[in-house]
Subunit: 149 residues, 2 copies
DNA sequence: CAAAATAGTGGGTGGTCACCCATGATAGGC
DNA sequence: GCCTATCATGGGTGACCACCCACTATTTTG
C-alpha cells in the first residue's frame, strides 16, 4: 500500500483530483494515438464539429470550440493540406471562408472517433456497463453546471 | 440548444471527453487560486505528500509523485525559500537530502487543502451529497485501474 | 464615398510541462 | 583504494497552449 509510490491520500481523497488525473491520462492517451498520425486533439474536435453540425464559417467554428480564431486558421490550414476539409470563399460575403468536410475527412473522422471510443473503453475498463452509465450521467451533470455558469 | 456555441455531441457523448474537460477546468481553477500565492499545483502535491507520509528523501519524493528528480529539486528549492520545508543532509548518506515539513509549511498545506476543497465543492455543486459519493467511488475505481496497469 | 467594423492570416510571446544531459559530491562493490 | 553507481542540481530543449497584435481584404455604416 505505502510502497513509496502511492499518491498522497489527501490528494486522492479529493474527487476533483481523481477527475484531473483520470482526465489527463485519458487525454494523454488519445493525444498519443493521434500523434502517430501527425494530428492533435484539436484536429479531431474540428472534424467532429463539422460532422455534427455541417459546414461552418471559420469564425463560427472557432467560437463553437472556444479557440482563438488565429489558431483555428492554422488548424484548418493543416486539415485542408491533408485533404480532410475544403475551404471556400463565401460568395455573399467574400471575407468569410466556409469550411466543409470532404469524404476523406469523413473517413478520417470515423477513424478518430473509433480511437476515442477505444481509449474510453480502456479507461473505463474497471466499470460495469451500468456503472459507466452512472458515471456518464454524473459527469454530464457536472459538465453542464460548468459550461452554463 | 444549437446556439453556435454548443460543443459537438459526438465529443460530449464520450465519457472520457467529459472527464477531460471537467478535469481540466477543475485543475485550471485550482491552479488559478494557487497562482495568486505564487504557487503551482506541484507545490501542493509535495506538501501533501510530506503531510501524509512524513519526511522524505528528496529522490523518494520525486518517485512518489512521478516527477523528474531534477524538477523536484527546483520545487523543493522554492518551498524551502518560502520556509515551507526544510532540507537536511542525511548523516548516514551525505548524498541524500531529507525534506521535512515546517510548521509554516503545515499551515500553508492546510490553506491549500481548503482551497482544493473549495474548488471541489464549486465543481461538484450540481450534485447531491449522494451523487458525489457515487462519483467519487466510480472515479476511484477508474483511477485504481489506471495506476495499477 | 469615407470611415468604421469584421474575417482570415502570419507572426510572435509567455507559460507550463516533461524531459534529458552534464557535473560535482558521496557511497558502495570488489 | 579504485571504479562504478547514486544523489542533487543547473541548464537546456522541444512540445504544446492560449494569447495577442498587425496587416490585408472586404463589407457595412453613416
Amino acid at each position: 500500500m505505502d510502497d513509496l509510490r502511492a499518491a498522497p491520500p489527501s490528494l486522492t481523497g479529493l474527487s476533483t483530483y481523481l477527475l484531473s488525473r483520470t482526465g489527463k491520462i485519458a487525454r494523454g492517451r488519445l493525444a498519443g494515438r493521434f500523434a502517430e498520425r501527425g494530428l492533435r486533439l484539436w484536429h479531431h474536435a474540428v472534424l467532429a464539429a463539422l460532422g455534427d453540425f455541417g459546414p461552418h464559417v471559420q469564425r463560427d467554428l472557432a467560437a463553437r470550440l472556444a479557440i482563438d480564431p488565429s489558431d483555428m486558421a492554422k488548424i484548418v490550414d493543416e486539415l485542408a493540406g491533408a485533404g480532410s476539409v475544403e475551404r471556400a470563399r463565401d460568395a455573399a460575403d467574400r471575407r468569410r471562408i466556409t469550411v466543409t468536410l470532404t469524404d476523406a475527412g469523413r473517413t478520417l473522422l470515423a477513424e478518430l472517433d473509433a480511437e476515442a471510443a477505444g481509449v474510453r473503453d480502456e479507461v473505463l475498463a474497471p466499470l460495469t456497463e451500468n456503472e459507466r452509465e452512472q458515471l456518464d450521467a454524473l459527469l454530464r451533470k457536472v459538465f453542464q453546471g460548468l459550461v452554463t455558469e
